[in-house]
């Protein structure tokens, strides 16, 4: 506790960096996963290929990716971009399947109603399928967000500063307060991401809340 009180401004700065390193890839990864997930849904043969391939990406050890990326991207080894790209890859790995399954959860009757009324594919995707996929998408995003927050801390090993520094430094110098602060700060950050996404999901799906509040259909108006 005293360690935190003595270093709180430093912790805040690290937390902010940590948040950016986790959130930016989450957003970019999600945008990349959308077309991939859509394609996995659209073509029957693409689903197992895309889902398996993206799943495999997730199994690459993060440290290996952090070290390899500068060679591939031609970036400097200390460039935070390496971390952002690596985290984006992990996010895509987690979300391709989520997007495909979320789109699959849109009721067939609703989809064919949209076709029958004259929606063309792009507009149907944006205004019918995507909004209805939000609950499943949010569930997947929450998992990806928490996973990102935890993996980002490994970046300390390649010298990109964020909350993970507290862990390595605290461990190396055997400062218990710093170690605990690092762990707790990561936890709080993950929780913050989770709550934000959950709130965003609720905001985007007013019809779901109505369903829960009422529980059953209300009969009023016409007799039928």
């Amino acid at each position: 506790m005293t360690w935190f009180l003595d270093h709180w401004d430093e912790v805040i700065t690290l937390a902010r960096q940590h948040a950016v390193l986790a959130a930016l890839p989450l957003a970019v990864g999600f945008l990349l996963a959308l077309p991939l997930g859509w394609a996995a849904r659209r073509w029957r043969t693409a689903y197992p290929i895309l889902v398996t391939a993206s799943g495999l990406l997730y199994t690459i050890p993060s440290l290996a990716l952090f070290v390899l990326l500068p060679l591939v991207l031609g970036t400097r080894i200390l460039d935070p971009l390496n971390v952002v790209v690596a985290m984006t890859i992990y996010t895509v790995a987690l979300l391709v399947r989520t997007v495909a399954d979320a789109l699959g959860a849109v009721p067939e009757g609703v989809r064919s109603a949209a076709v029958a009324l004259g929606y063309r594919a792009p507009r149907r995707f944006m205004t019918v399928e995507l909004p209805l996929a939000v609950p499943v998408l949010v569930a997947g995003l929450r998992v990806a967000a928490v996973s990102n927050v935890s993996i980002v801390s490994v970046a300390s090993l390649i010298g990109v500063t964020q909350l993970g520094d507290l862990l390595t430094d605290g461990y190396n110098r055997a400062i218990g307060g710093e170690l605990i602060t690092g762990i707790l700060a990561c936890l709080v950050l993950a929780l913050l991401f989770d709550v934000t996404l959950q709130g965003l999901g609720r905001l985007l799906t007013p019809w779901v809340r109505v369903e829960q509040a009422r529980g059953r259909p209300v009969t009023k108006g016409a007799a039928a």
Binding site: A116, L117, R120, E211, A222, A223, A224
Partner: protein, 362 residues
């Protein structure tokens, strides 16, 4: 007019859903496609708006080959109602109804106005406007589905089992509301059902399909009932085909009989026939058995009434009139006028004799 010309559909995998279908769907009328499950009704319907592409043959709308019309444009000009309404769960009732106008790029105010107008048109109250579909009953959802299909005032309405997911009472109401709506709007309606009663009730023209996608017969309900083309059609129409056909026969001129009546709450005069009709403000309430309430000065109460007899109207079909007579405890069918007031009774044997006579003259 919509025309099917030698239209077939074979799904990948070899299932023949529709086989060489030739059918003319007249403008401004209701054509019903009816048949057992899997006989290709939905497939036929969906070929009209290009949701299913025919394997061979052509479909024309007012002489124009639909294959040459852009699919989205074609569909926006044809209302579509699905079995479970297919409403968008994430949009309010009003926004659901405004779907096609929105696709057509109408101004927001005009869409709102049109959607409210339709809400009323299909018999829903204004305060349902901001509900989500999951806050509606099945019947209400179906009405919203119809309103949504009508929103841009398309000349053609395609309906795939629109009333099969609701209970019989609601279905009956929705059917008569559709007929009332159609009397005003005169749309070209193609309706799919597996319910022969619904087909006969709603269709100006009924096309009976059999499994394998063959058209077994097409004609008016009266024609089908009177002259089924083969055993399949006859079986499909059901055992009481002869009785049902009375719903489409002309009503012979019947002599109405006067009836001993008593007003509810008044004492029954002494003597008279075994059954007396009880009225309230001129409207029939039921029958009383004279011997049960014969005590002088005793008033006729609601509890004394034998109910259960159906009433028919002056302009009812022979089927309804006959049913009124057969269901009456007194054996005489009660006939009312447009105001619901009693005008006279009919006897089944007399009606049958007249029908018999007409039959002989044809």
């Amino acid at each position: 007019m919509i025309r099917f010309d030698g239209v077939s559909k074979v799904y990948p995998g070899g299932a023949v859903a529709v086989d060489n279908l030739g059918l003319t769907i007249p403008t401004g009328q209701i054509t019903v496609l009816v048949g057992p499950s899997g006989c290709g009704k939905t497939t036929s319907l969906r070929m009209i708006n290009r949701m299913v592409k025919p394997t061979s043959g052509t479909i024309t709308v007012d002489g124009q080959d639909i294959a040459r019309i852009r699919a989205s444009k074609l569909r926006r000009g044809m209302g579509y109602v699905l079995q479970d309404a297919g409403l968008f769960p994430h949009r309010t009732v009003l926004d659901n109804i405004g779907t096609v106008p929105r696709l057509l790029g109408w101004k927001r105010a005009r869409i709102q106005e049109r959607a409210r107008e339709l809400l009323e048109r299909v018999g829903l109250e204004d305060d349902l406007a901001d509900r989500y579909p999951n806050q509606l009953s099945g019947g209400q959802r179906q009405r919203v589905g119809v309103a949504r299909a009508l929103a841009a005032d398309p000349p053609v309405l395609l309906m795939d089992e629109p009333f099969s997911a609701v209970d019989p009472v609601v279905r009956d109401q929705l059917q008569s509301d559709l007929l009332a709506l159609q009397a005003d709007l005169s749309k070209t309606i193609v309706l799919v059902t597996h319910d022969i009663d619904e087909a006969l009730r709603l269709g100006d023209q009924v096309a009976v399909l059999r499994r394998g996608g063959h058209l077994a017969q097409v004609g008016s309900p009266a024609e089908l009932l009177a002259h089924p083309a083969d055993d399949f059609v006859a079986d499909f129409l059901g055992r009481d085909r002869g009785y049902r056909s009375l719903a489409f026969a002309g009503m012979p001129r019947l002599t109405l009989h006067a009836e001993r009546t008593v007003t509810l709450g008044e004492p029954l005069p002494a003597g008279g026939p075994p059954w007396v009709l009880v009225l309230d403000a001129g409207r029939p309430q039921g029958w009383v058995r004279t011997e049960e309430v014969h005590r002088p000065g005793r008033r006729v109460l609601v509890d004394d009434l034998e109910r259960g007899g159906n009433v028919a109207r002056l302009d009812s079909t022979p089927r309804e009139v006959l049913d009124a007579a057969l269901s009456s405890p007194a054996g005489r069918g009660v006939i009312i006028d447009d105001q619901g007031e009693f005008v006279g009774t009919v006897v089944a044997s007399e009606l049958l004799a007249l029908l018999e006579l007409e039959r002989g003259q044809r």
